[in-house]
Symmetry: C2
Subunit: 414 residues, 2 copies
């Protein structure tokens, strides 16, 4: 009997009807002869309700208590999904993160899974139960409740699939797969049947909805992940190791030759420029160490020679983090005696991603030429082996997606 892990997000569980619909899908997987572990998020909107409640009490809630509060959302949905499964005649049982043995570090509100003691889950599967587990939560060694932060239920699902050696982790959501680009920007965008882990990791880091953390875990343990819609019966997109012998590739010969796989966009970007630094060793560390300590992640960093032998730095942060980043950088900049510090918004990152790019030159030139022809200025450029990213004006980014989608003919399965 094969073991499948399924994960359902909050929008798929927003009311009793949707819970019933999800339960029918789970029951089908069970009746096809699989063992099924289900990971659920909180019912759509319920987490916001809890955050609002806390907001009525305090502006700066304690993160440990916030985790106690937020963890209740997933408990509610896992109990309700089990009830719905039981009305369909299925044997099912709910488990909290704690009961499912999900141990985390102590980083409240952004905890990381440290280990999974899956004895109870296995026991319940052996009894013939569908096991429905509260996602997004775990427990520390000292028995305190934690939550995993954004995208945490995906991480729970993938980590459980890895631990239980599931044949597949199926992530059901409100989109029906991974596309060549956001269909809202590029009407000709096309769903991909499959994508490789490293491609997906770049997409996730550069704008796609999934959290990179869950892709990293899937990649590390080789868990095939299917992204599909909870509302339709479409085939979705399978994220897997391209050359994995145990998971036969569904990629057509044409797809194998297609070197750009998908275009990602991230509008949550701000740029900080630190100008006129009298360069000496340790300057970069002086700026970036306090940012790292404050958990502000810095993305594109560009350093260039300024006037009169000084150096300029510019780097991007999440737009949400701009205020707190400036608060950290400004005193440091003063101390090291630089000319000016400024923050700017209204920017977006556009990336082309594809494993095929690493052994075929000319993609960057083709990308820059296409954007320039469309009068779209490129602010900064950064690349990985399988990705090229340009920072452009936020107002131009949707046009840029269309231009690049056409340039690389992503609507065609070549």
């Amino acid at each position: 009997m094969s073991l499948i892990v399924q994960k359902y997000g909050g929008k798929s569980l927003a009311d009793a009807d949707k819970i019933r619909q999800v339960s029918r899908r789970i029951a089908t997987a069970r009746e096809q002869g699989n063992q099924v572990v289900v990971v659920v998020s909180a019912m759509g909107g319920s987490t916001d309700g809890l955050i609002q409640l806390a907001g009525q009490i305090t502006d700066s809630p304690d993160s440990r208590e916030m985790d106690v509060l937020l963890s209740t959302g997933e408990l509610v949905s896992c109990a309700l999904v089990v009830m719905a499964l039981q009305t369909l005649g299925e044997k099912a049982i709910s488990l909290s993160g704690f009961q499912a043995g999900i141990r985390t570090d102590t980083g409240h509100r952004k905890a990381k899974i440290a280990s999974i003691a899956s004895d109870r889950v296995k026991q319940e599967l052996d009894k013939g139960n569908i096991v429905v587990i509260a996602g997004f939560q775990g427990i520390t060694d000292s028995m305190d409740i934690t939550t995993l932060g954004r995208g945490g239920s995906d991480t729970t699902a993938v980590a459980l699939a890895a631990q239980l050696e599931a044949v597949r982790c199926e992530i059901y959501t409100d989109v029906d797969g991974i596309y060549t680009a956001n269909p809202k920007f590029a009407p000709k965008a096309r769903r991909l049947n499959e994508i490789e882990y490293d491609e997906m990791l770049e997409l996730a880091s550069y704008g796609a909805k999934m959290e990179p953390r869950s892709i990293e875990i899937a990649m590390h343990y080789g868990v095939p992940v299917l992204i599909a819609s909870s509302l339709t019966e479409g085939p979705g997109t399978l994220i897997h190791r391209g050359a994995d012998m145990t998971t036969p590739s569904k990629r057509t010969v044409g797809e194998l030759r297609q070197h750009v796989r998908s275009i990602a966009v991230d509008k949550n970007v701000a740029e900080i420029a630190v100008l006129g630094i009298n360069d000496r060793p340790g300057i970069a560390a002086a700026i970036f160490e306090p940012l790292a300590e404050a958990n502000v992640s810095v993305d594109i960093i560009v350093s260039s020679s300024g006037s009169e032998g000084t150096t300029d730095f510019s780097f991007t942060v999440k737009e949400d983090d701009l205020k707190s980043a400036l608060k950290i950088v400004e005193p440091v900049a003063k101390e090291i005696g630089c000319r000016s510090v400024s923050g700017s918004t209204g920017l977006a990152k556009i990336s082309i991603v594809g494993t095929g790019m690493q052994d075929a030159p000319g993609y960057a030139a083709k990308m820059f030429r296409a954007l320039s022809k469309a009068n779209i200025n490129i602010d900064v450029i950064t690349t990985s082996e399988i990705r090229i990213t340009c920072l452009v004006d936020e107002n131009k980014v949707e046009e840029a997606v269309r231009v690049l989608h056409d340039t690389f003919e992503l609507d065609k399965v070549k």
Copy 2:
């Protein structure tokens, strides 16, 4: 430093303002130099909301899953109370039933506390924390979440007070104490400064709002329990052992002489009559054993000789239980060959309670005379050492309360 356990009900925690108000009261107790453990119920109305949610999925929810669902309500309120305490500058931490070490039997939805492993609670108190614990819930030996059933948070509070050897358990609610009668029925009703455990136990069993189980635990361990309002600063009513040397009685000399302490009313009553039984040994067992197995509690039982050498039985059950009780009794009655079985509603129990009654005769006669004078028929009578109960017409019971309150002059501190 004295340890106090406080318990707040759902109505006292119904919104952010009330939670802030409760927190100020808790902070005051802490600042007076006490260690404070707080037990909270779910926010008013939230439990009903969860029950409704389950009702949209199924008519007969699994009791284990219902416990998972319902236990979330108390987690929400304990996290919010801690946040409110922290805004007041207090050190506080929330604990779930599981984290507080509250172990129960496996009786889902009506579990009984089996033991309390209070190490974590003591650790947190030692760290200077106010410890806010989710009431009404516990965990079984196999780590399944249970709820304690009606009045469960009171039981949590009293059991914790006993285990932690608290000087007092304070139960804050929407009434400001125990009265000589329900003030809605008897306008002259008067709050009692104190009452003895066994009196309170009779009142609780015969109509007062508290669950007998929590009084039993308090009595067994000698925990003084204060019932008071969460909204006002009134002194409340202290439930304690009258002759307890360690808790000096606040009872005035006048109150000591007052033999009827309070009048209790219970309208949740139905009567089942089994008539014309050919009496032989084992008949009573044949009727009452299956009721006990079905968890239907039977209260007043009267057996009398019927016509032609047969026997009649009548007994009361909770009105809520009438339907299920009849379903059990009817086939049994058929089997033992009785003439008829019938159920009737529209009844109420009225009881006078007082420890002073046990060594002073004449109370029963005085009660019956007063009711008869007011043209109130007594259906059945039952007594304990410190209680006399009459079954009367439900429509007459409020008048009966007024009559008896006057007869025994309960408005006066004699």
